[in-house]
Amino acid sequence: MDRMKILLVDDEQEFVTTLAERLELRNMNVSIAMDGEAALGIVENDPPQIVVLDVMMPGLSGLEVLEKIKAMDSKIQVILLTGHGATKDGIRGMQLGAFDYLIKPIDIDELIEKLNEAMKSMA
Protein backbone atom coordinates (compact mmCIF):
# COMPACT_ATOMS: atom_id res chain seq x y z
CA MET A 1 0.00 0.00 0.00
CA ASP A 2 1.26 3.49 -0.89
CA ARG A 3 2.35 5.72 1.95
CA MET A 4 -0.12 8.46 2.82
CA LYS A 5 1.24 11.79 1.57
CA ILE A 6 0.70 14.59 4.06
CA LEU A 7 1.60 18.28 4.20
CA LEU A 8 1.73 19.86 7.69
CA VAL A 9 1.41 23.65 7.83
CA ASP A 10 1.98 25.52 11.10
CA ASP A 11 4.18 28.48 12.02
CA GLU A 12 5.35 26.75 15.24
CA GLN A 13 8.49 25.05 13.94
CA GLU A 14 9.07 22.77 16.95
CA PHE A 15 5.46 21.62 16.82
CA VAL A 16 5.37 20.90 13.12
CA THR A 17 8.74 19.11 12.94
CA THR A 18 7.97 16.88 15.95
CA LEU A 19 4.51 16.02 14.65
CA ALA A 20 6.06 15.21 11.27
CA GLU A 21 8.51 12.81 12.93
CA ARG A 22 5.65 11.07 14.73
CA LEU A 23 3.67 10.62 11.52
CA GLU A 24 6.76 9.38 9.66
CA LEU A 25 7.20 6.74 12.38
CA ARG A 26 3.70 5.63 11.36
CA ASN A 27 4.87 5.15 7.81
CA MET A 28 3.49 8.36 6.35
CA ASN A 29 5.25 10.56 3.81
CA VAL A 30 5.28 14.01 5.43
CA SER A 31 6.42 17.41 4.24
CA ILE A 32 6.20 20.60 6.25
CA ALA A 33 5.65 24.30 5.66
CA MET A 34 5.73 27.13 8.15
CA ASP A 35 3.55 29.63 6.33
CA GLY A 36 0.83 29.78 3.72
CA GLU A 37 3.03 30.87 0.82
CA ALA A 38 5.44 27.95 1.36
CA ALA A 39 2.49 25.56 1.66
CA LEU A 40 1.02 26.72 -1.65
CA GLY A 41 4.43 26.24 -3.30
CA ILE A 42 4.52 22.61 -2.14
CA VAL A 43 0.91 22.03 -3.22
CA GLU A 44 1.78 23.33 -6.69
CA ASN A 45 5.05 21.40 -7.15
CA ASP A 46 4.52 18.20 -5.19
CA PRO A 47 0.83 17.93 -4.29
CA PRO A 48 -0.02 16.02 -1.09
CA GLN A 49 -3.16 13.95 -0.60
CA ILE A 50 -4.01 15.66 2.67
CA VAL A 51 -3.03 19.03 4.15
CA VAL A 52 -3.12 19.55 7.92
CA LEU A 53 -3.39 23.30 8.21
CA ASP A 54 -3.23 25.68 11.18
CA VAL A 55 -5.84 28.43 10.98
CA MET A 56 -3.90 31.15 12.81
CA MET A 57 -0.70 31.96 10.98
CA PRO A 58 1.13 35.16 10.16
CA GLY A 59 0.70 36.30 6.56
CA LEU A 60 -1.94 34.29 4.73
CA SER A 61 -4.43 32.89 7.21
CA GLY A 62 -5.27 29.19 7.23
CA LEU A 63 -8.70 29.90 5.76
CA GLU A 64 -7.16 31.90 2.88
CA VAL A 65 -4.68 29.07 2.21
CA LEU A 66 -7.56 26.57 2.29
CA GLU A 67 -9.46 28.52 -0.38
CA LYS A 68 -6.37 28.69 -2.61
CA ILE A 69 -5.63 24.96 -2.21
CA LYS A 70 -9.19 24.08 -3.11
CA ALA A 71 -8.99 26.36 -6.17
CA MET A 72 -5.73 24.63 -7.23
CA ASP A 73 -6.94 21.07 -6.67
CA SER A 74 -10.33 20.41 -5.11
CA LYS A 75 -9.47 16.72 -4.52
CA ILE A 76 -6.84 17.55 -1.87
CA GLN A 77 -8.38 17.09 1.56
CA VAL A 78 -7.69 19.68 4.23
CA ILE A 79 -7.89 19.17 7.99
CA LEU A 80 -7.78 22.42 9.94
CA LEU A 81 -6.17 22.98 13.32
CA THR A 82 -7.90 25.64 15.41
CA GLY A 83 -7.36 27.03 18.85
CA HIS A 84 -9.86 26.61 21.67
CA GLY A 85 -12.57 29.23 21.43
CA ALA A 86 -12.04 29.42 17.67
CA THR A 87 -14.38 26.63 16.61
CA LYS A 88 -16.22 29.14 14.42
CA ASP A 89 -13.08 29.17 12.23
CA GLY A 90 -13.32 25.38 11.95
CA ILE A 91 -16.96 25.56 10.95
CA ARG A 92 -16.25 28.35 8.46
CA GLY A 93 -13.42 26.20 7.08
CA MET A 94 -15.77 23.27 6.54
CA GLN A 95 -18.10 25.60 4.65
CA LEU A 96 -15.10 26.46 2.46
CA GLY A 97 -14.43 22.79 1.75
CA ALA A 98 -12.24 21.56 4.63
CA PHE A 99 -12.73 17.88 5.47
CA ASP A 100 -12.81 18.53 9.22
CA TYR A 101 -11.11 20.45 12.00
CA LEU A 102 -9.28 19.57 15.22
CA ILE A 103 -8.64 21.71 18.28
CA LYS A 104 -5.00 22.26 19.31
CA PRO A 105 -3.23 20.71 21.17
CA ILE A 106 -4.26 17.64 19.19
CA ASP A 107 -4.38 14.00 20.16
CA ILE A 108 -2.23 11.96 17.75
CA ASP A 109 -4.73 9.08 17.63
CA GLU A 110 -7.52 11.48 16.78
CA LEU A 111 -5.42 13.05 14.02
CA ILE A 112 -4.62 9.62 12.54
CA GLU A 113 -8.29 8.68 12.63
CA LYS A 114 -9.16 11.89 10.75
CA LEU A 115 -6.37 11.29 8.23
CA ASN A 116 -7.69 7.76 7.57
CA GLU A 117 -11.23 9.08 7.20
CA ALA A 118 -10.03 11.75 4.78
CA MET A 119 -8.18 9.11 2.73
CA LYS A 120 -11.25 6.89 2.59
CA SER A 121 -13.37 9.81 1.39
CA MET A 122 -10.98 10.24 -1.55
CA ALA A 123 -11.24 6.60 -2.66
Binding site: E12, E14, F15, T18, L19, E21, R22, L25, M56, G83, H84, G85, K104, P105, I106, I108
Partner: protein, 223 residues
Protein backbone atom coordinates in the same frame (compact mmCIF):
# COMPACT_ATOMS: atom_id res chain seq x y z
CA UNK B 1 -20.76 48.79 33.72
CA UNK B 2 -19.78 52.12 32.17
CA UNK B 3 -18.24 52.45 28.72
CA UNK B 4 -14.62 52.94 29.90
CA UNK B 5 -14.82 50.01 32.33
CA UNK B 6 -16.26 47.84 29.57
CA UNK B 7 -13.35 48.79 27.30
CA UNK B 8 -10.84 48.03 30.07
CA UNK B 9 -12.37 44.61 30.66
CA UNK B 10 -12.37 43.91 26.91
CA UNK B 11 -8.69 44.91 26.75
CA UNK B 12 -7.73 42.54 29.56
CA UNK B 13 -9.80 39.81 27.95
CA UNK B 14 -8.18 40.23 24.55
CA UNK B 15 -4.62 40.17 25.93
CA UNK B 16 -5.35 37.18 28.17
CA UNK B 17 -6.99 35.24 25.32
CA UNK B 18 -3.93 35.90 23.13
CA UNK B 19 -1.58 34.67 25.85
CA UNK B 20 -3.61 31.49 26.37
CA UNK B 21 -3.03 30.66 22.70
CA UNK B 22 0.71 31.06 23.24
CA UNK B 23 0.62 28.81 26.31
CA UNK B 24 -1.33 26.23 24.33
CA UNK B 25 1.30 26.26 21.62
CA UNK B 26 3.93 25.56 24.28
CA UNK B 27 1.80 22.71 25.65
CA UNK B 28 1.30 21.34 22.13
CA UNK B 29 5.07 21.21 21.58
CA UNK B 30 5.66 19.49 24.94
CA UNK B 31 2.84 17.06 24.14
CA UNK B 32 4.26 16.14 20.73
CA UNK B 33 7.83 15.88 22.08
CA UNK B 34 6.82 13.56 24.91
CA UNK B 35 4.60 11.67 22.47
CA UNK B 36 7.58 11.19 20.17
CA UNK B 37 9.62 9.81 23.10
CA UNK B 38 6.79 7.35 23.75
CA UNK B 39 6.70 6.37 20.07
CA UNK B 40 10.45 5.71 20.10
CA UNK B 41 10.11 3.61 23.27
CA UNK B 42 7.35 1.60 21.61
CA UNK B 43 9.62 0.62 18.72
CA UNK B 44 12.61 -0.07 20.98
CA UNK B 45 13.31 -3.77 21.44
CA UNK B 46 12.65 -5.18 24.90
CA UNK B 47 15.65 -5.17 27.21
CA UNK B 48 17.64 -2.64 25.17
CA UNK B 49 16.47 0.45 27.03
CA UNK B 50 17.62 0.61 30.67
CA UNK B 51 15.05 1.86 33.21
CA UNK B 52 12.30 1.78 30.57
CA UNK B 53 9.54 1.45 33.22
CA UNK B 54 10.72 4.52 35.09
CA UNK B 55 10.91 6.43 31.83
CA UNK B 56 7.35 5.46 30.90
CA UNK B 57 6.13 6.44 34.37
CA UNK B 58 7.75 9.84 34.00
CA UNK B 59 6.22 10.31 30.53
CA UNK B 60 2.79 9.48 31.93
CA UNK B 61 3.26 12.16 34.58
CA UNK B 62 4.17 14.66 31.85
CA UNK B 63 1.03 13.69 29.88
CA UNK B 64 -1.11 14.17 33.00
CA UNK B 65 0.32 17.63 33.61
CA UNK B 66 -0.10 18.59 29.94
CA UNK B 67 -3.76 17.65 30.18
CA UNK B 68 -4.08 19.69 33.37
CA UNK B 69 -2.45 22.65 31.61
CA UNK B 70 -4.79 22.27 28.63
CA UNK B 71 -7.86 22.20 30.89
CA UNK B 72 -6.80 25.31 32.81
CA UNK B 73 -5.82 27.32 29.72
CA UNK B 74 -9.01 26.28 27.89
CA UNK B 75 -11.10 27.57 30.80
CA UNK B 76 -8.98 30.70 31.06
CA UNK B 77 -9.42 31.26 27.33
CA UNK B 78 -13.18 30.91 27.58
CA UNK B 79 -13.18 33.25 30.59
CA UNK B 80 -11.07 35.79 28.67
CA UNK B 81 -13.65 35.75 25.87
CA UNK B 82 -16.46 36.55 28.35
CA UNK B 83 -16.52 40.27 27.51
CA UNK B 84 -16.88 39.56 23.76
CA UNK B 85 -20.68 39.47 23.83
CA UNK B 86 -23.10 40.98 26.29
CA UNK B 87 -25.79 40.08 26.94
CA UNK B 88 -25.14 36.47 25.98
CA UNK B 89 -26.97 33.19 26.28
CA UNK B 90 -25.36 31.41 29.26
CA UNK B 91 -25.59 27.84 30.48
CA UNK B 92 -25.39 28.08 34.28
CA UNK B 93 -23.86 24.58 34.46
CA UNK B 94 -21.00 25.72 32.23
CA UNK B 95 -20.53 28.94 34.20
CA UNK B 96 -20.28 27.06 37.52
CA UNK B 97 -17.97 24.37 36.15
CA UNK B 98 -15.72 27.06 34.73
CA UNK B 99 -15.66 28.95 38.02
CA UNK B 100 -14.79 25.78 39.95
CA UNK B 101 -11.67 25.36 37.85
CA UNK B 102 -10.68 29.02 37.91
CA UNK B 103 -11.29 29.63 41.63
CA UNK B 104 -10.14 26.27 43.02
CA UNK B 105 -6.75 27.65 43.93
CA UNK B 106 -8.30 30.34 46.16
CA UNK B 107 -10.33 27.66 47.93
CA UNK B 108 -7.37 25.30 48.23
CA UNK B 109 -5.42 27.94 50.16
CA UNK B 110 -8.05 27.51 52.89
CA UNK B 111 -8.17 23.74 52.50
CA UNK B 112 -11.65 24.12 51.06
CA UNK B 113 -12.85 21.90 48.22
CA UNK B 114 -14.77 23.72 45.49
CA UNK B 115 -17.18 21.74 43.36
CA UNK B 116 -20.26 22.13 41.19
CA UNK B 117 -23.55 20.28 41.22
CA UNK B 118 -25.08 20.72 37.75
CA UNK B 119 -28.80 21.13 37.21
CA UNK B 120 -30.74 18.71 35.05
CA UNK B 121 -32.00 20.00 32.67
CA UNK B 122 -29.44 22.81 32.30
CA UNK B 123 -30.63 26.33 33.03
CA UNK B 124 -30.00 28.80 30.21
CA UNK B 125 -30.32 32.52 30.86
CA UNK B 126 -29.55 35.69 28.93
CA UNK B 127 -27.19 37.78 31.01
CA UNK B 128 -23.94 39.71 31.22
CA UNK B 129 -21.16 37.08 31.47
CA UNK B 130 -18.53 39.23 33.19
CA UNK B 131 -20.87 40.57 35.89
CA UNK B 132 -22.31 37.12 36.50
CA UNK B 133 -18.87 35.54 36.85
CA UNK B 134 -17.87 38.39 39.15
CA UNK B 135 -20.96 37.88 41.34
CA UNK B 136 -20.24 34.16 41.56
CA UNK B 137 -16.62 34.76 42.48
CA UNK B 138 -17.61 37.41 45.08
CA UNK B 139 -19.92 34.85 46.68
CA UNK B 140 -17.13 32.30 46.89
CA UNK B 141 -14.76 34.89 48.36
CA UNK B 142 -17.35 36.00 50.93
CA UNK B 143 -17.69 32.42 52.12
CA UNK B 144 -13.92 31.85 52.14
CA UNK B 145 -13.44 35.02 54.21
CA UNK B 146 -15.97 34.19 56.90
CA UNK B 147 -15.41 30.45 57.26
CA UNK B 148 -12.58 28.65 58.95
CA UNK B 149 -10.31 26.18 57.25
CA UNK B 150 -11.59 23.02 55.58
CA UNK B 151 -14.96 21.88 54.29
CA UNK B 152 -16.59 22.14 50.90
CA UNK B 153 -18.22 24.89 48.84
CA UNK B 154 -20.72 23.69 46.25
CA UNK B 155 -21.99 25.77 43.35
CA UNK B 156 -25.43 24.57 42.36
CA UNK B 157 -27.63 26.13 39.70
CA UNK B 158 -31.27 25.22 40.24
CA UNK B 159 -34.83 26.49 40.17
CA UNK B 160 -36.46 27.72 43.36
CA UNK B 161 -40.14 28.61 43.05
CA UNK B 162 -39.73 28.79 39.28
CA UNK B 163 -36.82 31.25 39.51
CA UNK B 164 -33.26 30.64 38.29
CA UNK B 165 -30.90 30.52 41.23
CA UNK B 166 -27.18 29.98 41.60
CA UNK B 167 -26.52 28.53 45.04
CA UNK B 168 -23.11 28.92 46.68
CA UNK B 169 -23.26 26.70 49.74
CA UNK B 170 -20.76 25.81 52.41
CA UNK B 171 -20.76 22.44 54.10
CA UNK B 172 -19.06 22.36 57.46
CA UNK B 173 -20.67 21.65 60.78
CA UNK B 174 -18.01 23.68 62.64
CA UNK B 175 -19.55 27.00 61.53
CA UNK B 176 -22.35 28.16 63.88
CA UNK B 177 -25.27 28.78 61.56
CA UNK B 178 -26.74 31.61 63.59
CA UNK B 179 -23.62 33.76 63.07
CA UNK B 180 -23.54 33.29 59.34
CA UNK B 181 -25.91 36.07 58.23
CA UNK B 182 -24.37 38.60 60.62
CA UNK B 183 -20.84 37.73 59.47
CA UNK B 184 -21.67 37.94 55.79
CA UNK B 185 -23.79 41.07 55.75
CA UNK B 186 -21.12 43.11 57.54
CA UNK B 187 -18.52 42.54 54.81
CA UNK B 188 -17.72 45.07 52.10
CA UNK B 189 -17.91 42.28 49.59
CA UNK B 190 -21.55 41.67 50.44
CA UNK B 191 -22.36 45.25 49.40
CA UNK B 192 -20.31 44.76 46.24
CA UNK B 193 -22.18 41.52 45.50
CA UNK B 194 -25.52 43.27 45.96
CA UNK B 195 -24.38 45.92 43.49
CA UNK B 196 -23.38 43.33 40.87
CA UNK B 197 -26.67 41.47 41.33
CA UNK B 198 -28.67 44.70 40.96
CA UNK B 199 -26.87 45.30 37.64
CA UNK B 200 -27.86 41.79 36.55
CA UNK B 201 -31.48 42.51 37.48
CA UNK B 202 -31.38 39.97 40.30
CA UNK B 203 -30.60 39.80 44.00
CA UNK B 204 -28.40 37.98 46.50
CA UNK B 205 -29.92 36.39 49.59
CA UNK B 206 -28.92 34.04 52.33
CA UNK B 207 -31.08 30.96 52.57
CA UNK B 208 -32.58 31.17 56.02
CA UNK B 209 -29.73 30.77 58.45
CA UNK B 210 -28.12 27.98 56.49
CA UNK B 211 -24.66 28.69 55.11
CA UNK B 212 -25.67 29.26 51.50
CA UNK B 213 -25.71 32.38 49.36
CA UNK B 214 -28.44 32.33 46.74
CA UNK B 215 -28.10 34.44 43.62
CA UNK B 216 -31.54 35.00 42.09
CA UNK B 217 -31.25 35.71 38.38
CA UNK B 218 -33.82 36.83 35.81
CA UNK B 219 -34.13 34.58 32.75
CA UNK B 220 -33.18 37.61 30.69
CA UNK B 221 -31.21 40.65 31.86
CA UNK B 222 -33.72 42.74 29.86
CA UNK B 223 -36.66 41.53 31.99
Amino acid sequence: MNHLKRKEVAFFGKITAGITHEIKNVLAIIQESSGLMEDILDITENGTFPHKDKFIKSLNRIHGQIQRGIDVTSRLNRFAHSPDHSPASLDLNEITEQMVLLASRFARLKNVVLESSPSDPPLIIKSDPVSLEMALFESIEILLNVIGSGGKITLSPRKIQNKCVLGVGYENTILPEEDFMAKISSTERWASLQEAMAYLGGSAKVFGLAPEILLYLPESIDD
